[in-house]
């Protein structure tokens, strides 16, 4: 198995300047590697820093120390030290992120929200929309909603749009932050299938799943974030 993602000595402390500069150490010495075909789940109580790890990998939290290495073809990129432009490029080609919540763009139809990552990779609008439609159908999002902006959708509907957006491309690394939090059992099963398919096709996945049954089904390995608690 080829390693795709490797965190080494990663630490994070939040400094709350508006609270007299209080320092909140959250993580230290995070050691974690994910290879192709793995789905690693992070476990630990809420507040342990699970989401923080995911966000540092995606580059929307800064790591204070350590390295976050992404194997990008022949090159290895350290997200923790890469300039913004390089991180954007990684997001474009290498790392996809499915979060709990969709930050909807006004006026953009659900199907186009899903198709956008394909469009940005230069795929023709027609083909991109067809792929988006197939995924939305699989996720049981009623077709009458496809042409509407997701802002007014229910939590579960928005989440399915978000999942479709994350799974529509074939990014080699997939970060999943509680993708099934507001879904019913049927839809959870479909997400599990999607994750299994990506795993089998060689994606490296790292996620947080509170649903124990789903976790057992998709995870190849669990990492307890408690091990990275600051002293």
């Amino acid at each position: 198995m080829t390693m795709r993602l490797c965190l080494s000595g990663v630490g994070k402390t939040f400094t709350m300047h508006l609270r007299d500069g209080i320092e909140l150490p959250v993580l230290r010495n995070v050691e974690l590697a994910v290879s192709e075909g793995e789905c690693v789940v992070l476990t630990g109580p809420s507040g342990a820093g699970k989401s923080t790890i995911l966000r540092m990998i995606y580059g929307n939290y800064l790591a204070d120390e350590g390295q976050i290495l992404v194997v990008d073809g022949e090159k290895i990129v350290d997200v923790a030290a890469a300039p913004p432009r390089r991180v954007l490029d990684l997001r474009h080609r290498m790392i996809a992120y499915v979060s709990q919540f969709l930050r909807a763009v006004p006026r953009v139809a659900a199907i186009d929200v899903v198709a956008e990552p394909l469009r940005l990779r230069g795929i023709l609008p027609e083909i991109a929309r067809n792929r988006a439609a197939a995924l939305l159908e699989r996720l049981n999002l009623p077709e009458r909603l496809w042409s509407l902006p997701p802002a007014t959708f229910s939590g579960g509907e928005q989440q399915r749009v978000n999942i479709a957006r994350g799974f529509v491309t074939d990014h080699p690394i997939l970060i999943l932050d509680e993708p099934t939090a507001s879904l019913d059992a049927t839809n959870r099963d479909i997400i599990a299938e999607l994750i299994e398919e990506r795993r089998e096709s060689g994606a490296a996945m790292l996620g947080i799943f509170h649903d124990a049954a789903l976790r057992r089904r998709v995870a190849t390995r669990a990492v307890d974030v408690g091990a990275f608690a600051p002293a």
């Binding site: 939290y61 979060s99 969709l102 930050r103 940005l120």
Partner: protein, 272 residues
């Protein structure tokens, strides 16, 4: 987490690895008062950079310097011309700079009246920029003007109406059409959505977001609205008292601001 704005489709080893614009030590004094001080950054093709900060933080001064509308007290702004050569914007002749501003650059003003000719028809406003780059065929010019009005969602039956009969949102869209018709590579925008109703703002932002992505435009956008920055920019610079105090990926600066001022700015936004 948001649906992030994706990176421009480049970043391979080619021409795109050279910045389109490079600012070094840009400093503007008004007498002994600081407009902006020692601002340096690079902008690549297809990137949207937002400059945020409160009124008086120097963001508009900086934008005016970057776009050659104001010659700074010190510093250099290099722009990579279409021939691939980087030229210092301030050592261009006035005529060269004007030509650049009319062709390869766009400038969208906060007040559309500053960017439009209010007594000339909508079609004329768009066509004028085409004529400035040598278009002469009336039918072509009118056809392109009509096409661009459509792209900014202005009904083509308004082509002969003057912008002083337009609503604020329509004027702003017309200003955008006028700027984009010549196929610029870089657009400067000074608070393009402030002063508009929220629903009109959303429409304009969505339109800008789509155009910027479709055309692969680079843009430098000044705004005091962090939500606007989040929606359409890749990178963010936070200014205070004339200086850049924090910069980075837009969602990183907004989700994990490092400096006391950026934290205050983010914490002060009302979340609807």
């Amino acid at each position: 987490m948001q649906a992030p704005i994706q990176s421009p489709t480049q970043a391979t080893e080619n021409d795109d690895d050279l910045p389109l614009l490079r600012a070094s030590g840009v400093t503007q004094f008004y007498g002994n008062r600081v407009g902006c001080r020692d601002v340096s950054f690079e902008l690549w093709p297809g990137e949207v950079l937002a400059i945020v900060g409160e009124s008086g933080s120097g963001k508009s001064t900086l934008l005016n310097c970057l776009s050659g509308r104001l010659i700074p007290t010190a510093g250099v702004v290099e722009y990579r011309m279409r021939d691939g050569h980087a030229r210092n914007v301030f050592s261009l002749s006035e005529a060269e700079r004007r030509f650049l501003a009319r062709t390869d650059w766009g400038f969208v003003h906060q007040d559309a009246r500053d960017g439009l000719r209010m007594t000339v028809s909508a079609g004329g406003n768009v066509g004028e920029r085409l004529m400035a780059v040598g278009a002469r065929n009336y039918g072509d010019i009118r056809g392109q003007a009509r096409d661009w009005l459509g792209r900014v969602e202005i009904d083509s039956d308004r082509i002969d109406d003057r912008p002083d009969t337009f609503s604020g949102g329509m004027r702003q869209r017309l200003q955008i059409a006028r700027n984009l018709v010549t196929g610029p590579r870089l657009v400067f925008m000074d608070e393009p959505t402030s002063g508009l109703d929220v629903s009109v703002q959303a429409r304009l932002l969505d339109l800008l977001r789509g155009l910027v992505a479709d055309l692969g435009l680079a843009a430098i956008l000044v705004t005091h609205d962090l939500a606007v920055a989040r929606m359409i920019s890749h990178r963010l610079m936070v200014m205070r008292a004339g200086e850049v105090i924090e910069s980075g990926l837009t969602d990183q600066v907004l989700d994990d601001p490092q400096s006391p001022y950026a934290q205050l700015l983010v914490a002060s936004v009302l979340q609807p």
